[in-house]
Structure formats: structure tokens, C-alpha cells
């Protein structure tokens, strides 16, 4: 069941407000794609357009070279899972799931068969005669999914599927969806604002902002090489340190050299992720710990140096082992980061000082660490 989706030049405006400002995208057959972005980025509108629940002002949507826009939603063969499930509240679970088959006049015996098979697949066998109001959030979600799958859609669309669920249920359902997709491999697109979710589930992630696509690629590609500042900041926390670039050297304000970068002379900002700051006690260190906050397995260290402020994240065990505490003098080593010159569009990797000083060793170490962190997402 591999349908390829091609989207070209999609535009939509509500009055003066542009919701989609030119979307070009191809979803490969059988791919699991995430549309990731903040609210207002247009991702849900794009999803609904693929389903036919919204119409673009101009542009094209094709399923396998067939013009999808020419067909109304009921003929597109798209399975849609709504954010709040939209289960038919006056029908039992079994009737909900079988609805798409019933309207296609499939014989009742056949419907019963298919519904039973689907309920088994989503692990809800014993809830056939219940009503949606009697189910938990996670159960409702699975019913919504089963209902969409019952019509054997060529494309499966999910709108913030796990947004309304609590953290534990969310984690379980994510894993379960991933497994399910591997089994049925139907082209799937889902919308989320949760970067972690997108990275865990998707083959490819498309980051959207203000109606445009900022970047599309595998999670690793996005993390390693963000196309612009927005993508970088959206994908995780970042410390922002103002800097000057002179002859390729990146210098933070109080005369601290951070490293080198392929950027022209000028001013800019260095972005460093919290785990790219290595902290160790040093009586002569120029940095000072402002506060240590333990939050489970990882701890946050608020650091200050003159006018500069940054936050590092370290495993709590390490914090305890090093005996880090407030008002302690420490040395901070930057192990990676990105430089965003004021005049540039895309961030450029920072080659930190530590790597410059001991090139070959630092290379290996740094690459190892970077790989680890990228895998953690």
C-alpha cells in the first residue's frame, strides 16, 4: 500500500492572514512523515488539505499522479485521525470502526469479520459493545485509528494524535504506532508540535513555521545541520551567547575565544546546547555556578561569567561525584555548537577551542559525543 503524495505550490489565506505560503513536498510511498512546528505554523491546515477537509487557494495535491483535489473528501480514500478522536458518540466501538464499511454497503458478515480483526490488532477485543464515553483516552485513540484503517486507506493522516494523553500513555502509544506502521506500511503523515515525538516516530521530519517549510530531512540531518536559526532553536534548548567573529575566530564578549567558524567578520550569536557544556571544578576558573537544580536523572547548572549566562545539563551522578554546588568556581568547556552570524541565513558549525588545541584526540571524542547525543534525539 504505497501511495506517493506530491504537493506543489500550495497557498491558503484566511482573509489577509496567509496560512500556507507556498508548500512543496513529496511523501514517498510507505513513508512515515512528521509535520513539526509551533501552533500557527500551518501544519494542521496542510494535513486537512491532503484529506480534503480544507481547500487551497491555489496549488496541487497528487496521489500517485492522480489529481486529489478533483475528488471530494469522501472519495479520496484517506484515513483521518482527529486530534480529539471525533468518535461517533452514539455508536458502539464496533459500529464506529465498521462505519466506513457500512456506508460502502459491505455485507454485514464481512464487516463483523474485519472489525474483529482490527480490534484485535489495536488490542481492544473486549470493548466492542462499549460507547466512546466509557473508554479512556488511549482506548479512544486506538478506536479512532482502527476506524480509519478499516477502509484500507491509501494515505493515513493523524492530527496531533497523542496530544490529549498523559505522558505514560503517550510513550506507549508512540511505540505501538511505530510498530503498527512497520506492519502495514501505508503512507502516513502526522502533525505534532512535540519535537521528541516527531524524532522518535518519523522516517522524515518536516519543520514548518509561519506557513512555510523550513527544512525537511531525517531527524539526524535536522539535528546535525539545521537550515536556519528557527529549526535549530525549535529542535531543542539552546544557550545563546552573543559574539564577534574576527578572521574566523569566534569571540564571546568578555574576550573569550570560543573557537573557529566559517563565517565572515562581523557580529552574531553562538548557540550551544546545554549538554555541549562540560563543567568541572576549578579554583581558578572564570565561570561561577549560580544555581544547581536536580530534576531526576539529569541536573541543570546555571552558570555565569561576567555578563555571560548559560545553562548546562549534566547527569546527576556526575554532579554529585564532582561535588558541584552554588557559588563554586568552575571551568566550562564548550564541546560543540552553532554560529549564527547576524548577516547570515543559516547557522554554521562551531569548531570549539578544545578541538583546535588537541585536534586528533578531540576530533574522535567530539564526534563520539555528538553521535551519542544525536541518537538520543
Amino acid at each position: 500500500m504505497g501511495t506517493r503524495i506530491e504537493i506543489a505550490g500550495l497557498h491558503k489565506a484566511f482573509g489577509a492572514q496567509a496560512v500556507l505560503a507556498g508548500i512543496d513536498l513529496t511523501v514517498q510511498p510507505g513513508e512515515l512523515m512528521a509535520l513539526l512546528g509551533p501552533s500557527g505554523s500551518g501544519k494542521t491546515t496542510l494535513l486537512r488539505m491532503i484529506a480534503g477537509l480544507e481547500r487551497p487557494d491555489r496549488g496541487a495535491v497528487r496521489f500517485d499522479d492522480e489529481d486529489a483535489l478533483a475528488r471530494p473528501p469522501r472519495e479520496r480514500g484517506v484515513g483521518f485521525v482527529f486530534q480529539h478522536y471525533a468518535l461517533f458518540r452514539h455508536m458502539t466501538v464496533a459500529r464506529n470502526i465498521g462505519f466506513g464499511l457500512a456506508v460502502r454497503k459491505v455485507p454485514r458478515a464481512r464487516i463483523a469479520e474485519k472489525v474483529a480483526a482490527l480490534m484485535k490488532r489495536v488490542q481492544l477485543e473486549f470493548l466492542a459493545e462499549r460507547y466512546p464515553a466509557q473508554l479512556s483516552g488511549g482506548q479512544r485513540q486506538r478506536v479512532a485509528l482502527a476506524r480509519a484503517l478499516a477502509i484500507e486507506p491509501r494515505v493515513l493522516l493523524l492530527d496531533e494524535p497523542f496530544g490529549a494523553l498523559d505522558a505514560v500513555v503517550r510513550r506507549d502509544l508512540r511505540r505501538w504506532l511505530r510498530r503498527l506502521h512497520r506492519e502495514i506500511s501505508v503512507t502516513t503523515v502526522f502533525v505534532t508540535h512535540d519535537q521528541e515525538e516527531a524524532f522518535e516516530l518519523a522516517d522524515r521530519v518536516v519543520v514548518m513555521n509561519a506557513g512555510r517549510i523550513c527544512q525537511s530531512g531525517t531527524p539526524m540531518q535536522l539535528y546535525r545541520a539545521p537550515a536556519d536559526q528557527f529549526v535549530y532553536r525549535f529542535l531543542g534548548e539552546a544557550n545563546a551567547l552573543p559574539c564577534r567573529i574576527e578572521n574566523g575566530f569566534v569571540i564571546a564578549e568578555p574576550g573569550l575565544v570560543l573557537g573557529r567558524a566559517e563565517v565572515r567578520t562581523g557580529s552574531g550569536t553562538v548557540y550551544v546546547r546545554p549538554h555541549q557544556l562540560a563543567v568541572r571544578p576549578d579554583a581558578h576558573g572564570a565561570w561561577r555556578i549560580a544555581e544547581v537544580t536536580a530534576s531526576g536523572p539529569m541536573s541543570r547548572i546555571a552558570l555565569a561569567r561576567g555578563a555571560l549566562a548559560a545553562e548546562a545539563v549534566l547527569p546527576t551522578e556526575r554532579v554529585v561525584a564532582l561535588g558541584l554546588g552554588p557559588d563554586m568556581a568552575v571551568e566550562v568547556e564548550i564541546t560543540g555548537g552553532m554560529v549564527m552570524a547576524d548577516a547570515a541565513a543559516a547557522p554554521v558549525p562551531l569548531v570549539p577551542v578544545s578541538r583546535l588545541a588537541r585536534p586528533h584526540l578531540a576530533d574522535q571524542e567530539a564526534e563520539q559525543r555528538a553521535d551519542q547525543r544525536a541518537d538520543q534525539g
Binding site: A51, E75, A86, H90, V103, R104
Partner: protein, 288 residues
């Protein structure tokens, strides 16, 4: 209600104020609502049971009752049908002029029933806009039953429409959208998904519509001409009897209407307590 336990626990207007307030409220209700209801039954039976039965057996009263029921049986289903249509196009779609349509639908609520009757006279009466046309075809609307049906329809059609529009709007379109993506046609979506959702609101609206249709007085009186036995509904008959100083008979007929009103109140309360969530949108200010 969240306010319940907190209010009971907290001293908001507790102390001497509380029993005083409750007493005042109950006293007012007793005086202005309970007494009038009571006097209807007291007067109806003031001359004994036999006189009561005789008054109800009167042919004019019988005819009036039948006419009232007939008018209700015509007006309520028609208003329900169009109310459902209105709720579909206003709740599921957004378009310019939607607000205007809602205002027009609510118009009968802000118009005096007498003015409503007058409007129909100006349209269908002998000297009205369509008067000449109707005369030429021998159709009698004003001072005849058709006019009374129209007057009743005019005054009662907002009930169902209003109820359904706000309920449908509150329920949202998602289930209908889901049905459409699953391949349902308009009729399938409407009958299997939308209508079941609306059923309690529909029942509620029909209940109110029916109560008003049976009880309407001002508008119907203007267009009817009050010919006893022919163009009198039960409220009009009550009026006629009272004006003719047949008090006991008037109140006897009134007990029928009061009985219907009480049944309406009971059903209304039952619907509100059992299906509060499905009528939720309509708990905002309702008008008669």
C-alpha cells in the same frame, strides 16, 4: 455544581441573611406563581365535579380543543423540519449573512404577538399585499383556520431552530468530517451521525414549540375573528367564556391548558436533569 459545597462551607451571605433570602424568594414564588396556578383549579371545581365535566363536554370547548390540537400537529412538525434545515446550514458552514439569518429567525421573539397577527393581516388580509390575489382565487386566510395556523407557525418557529443551532454549533463538525472522510454521503452523515447527536435538543425544542403553539393567544386572536365552534382555539375559547361571564366554564377549559403546561414543565425538568450536557449550549438565556 462546584459552588455548592464551597458556598455551604463558606459564610457568603450566611447568618440572618440566608433564611431571609430563602423566605423572600419562596414567598414571592408562592404569591406570584403558585397562587395563580392554584386559583385555576379552585375556580374550575368551584361548582362541583359535575359542573366541571359539563363545561368540558360543551361542543364549543370540544371543537376548540380539536382545533388547537390540529394546529399544533401542523405547526410543530413543519417548524421542526425547517429548524433542522436551518441548524445544518448555520452550524456547519460559515458564510456572510449567517448572522442576519439568525437575527431573522429570532425576530418573532422580539415582536408582540398582536403585532405578529397584524403582520399576517397586512400580508394576507383583504386589504393586504396578497389580499386581492387570494380573493380572486377564493382562498380565505385571515379569519379562517389557515391564518391561525400561519400565526402559530410564525410565533413558534424560533424554538426548534434556536435550540438546534446553538447545540449543533457547540457540538462542532468533527464527527461529520470524520464520517465524510470515511466515505459517507450527505444523507448517511446526517441520519446516522448528526441527528442522533441532536436528538435531545430536538426533543427539548419540540417540547417548547408545542407548548407555545397550544397556548398562543394574541397572534391567533387577531387573525381568527373568534367565531365560536369554528375559529376558536382553546385559549380563545377561554377568553370568550370569560368575557361572557361564564367564569366556571372558562376556568374548566383553562384546566386543560394548565394541565398541558404542567406536563410540559415536568418533561422539561426531566430532560434538563437527565441530558444536561446535550442541552448545555442552550442553558444560556432562553426567551419565551
Amino acid at each position: 455544581m462546584a459552588a455548592e459545597s464551597s458556598a455551604a462551607a463558606f459564610a457568603s451571605l450566611r447568618g440572618p441573611a440566608r433564611p431571609l433570602l430563602i423566605g423572600t424568594a419562596l414567598g414571592f414564588v408562592a404569591l406570584f406563581l403558585v397562587l395563580p396556578l392554584g386559583v385555576i383549579f379552585a375556580e374550575a371545581f368551584s361548582l362541583g365535579l359535575r359542573a366541571y365535566a359539563a363545561a368540558l363536554a360543551d361542543p364549543d370547548v370540544r371543537a376548540a380543543l380539536l382545533l388547537t390540537i390540529f394546529i399544533a400537529l401542523v405547526a410543530v412538525p413543519l417548524n421542526t423540519f425547517f429548524g433542522v434545515a436551518a441548524s445544518w446550514c448555520l452550524a456547519r458552514f460559515r458564510f456572510r449573512g449567517g448572522a442576519l439569518i439568525v437575527t431573522l429567525i429570532e425576530l418573532p421573539f422580539s415582536v408582540s404577538p398582536v403585532v405578529a397577527g397584524l403582520l399576517l393581516v397586512l400580508l394576507f388580509g383583504r386589504f393586504g399585499l396578497l389580499g386581492a390575489f387570494l380573493e380572486a382565487h377564493g382562498v380565505r386566510v385571515i379569519f379562517a383556520v389557515p391564518g391561525m395556523v400561519l400565526a402559530t407557525i410564525f410565533v413558534t418557529f424560533p424554538f426548534v431552530a434556536r435550540e438546534l443551532i446553538s447545540l449543533a454549533q457547540a457540538q462542532g463538525n468533527e464527527e461529520e468530517e470524520a464520517a465524510v472522510t470515511l466515505g459517507a454521503s450527505f444523507l448517511q452523515t446526517f441520519l446516522q451521525v448528526s441527528l442522533p447527536k441532536l436528538r435531545w435538543g430536538l426533543l427539548y425544542g419540540v417540547l417548547l414549540c408545542n407548548a407555545r403553539a397550544i397556548g398562543e393567544f394574541g397572534a391567533v386572536s387577531v387573525v381568527s375573528g373568534e367565531v365560536p365552534g369554528q375559529t376558536n382555539t382553546l385559549p380563545l375559547e377561554v377568553h370568550a367564556l370569560y368575557s361572557g361571564y361564564e367564569m366556571q366554564a372558562a376556568f374548566a377549559a383553562a384546566t386543560l391548558l394548565a394541565g398541558i403546561a404542567i406536563v410540559t414543565l415536568v418533561l422539561k425538568a426531566a430532560l434538563e436533569s437527565r441530558h444536561r450536557d446535550e442541552l448545555r449550549a442552550t442553558r444560556r438565556a432562553r426567551t419565551g
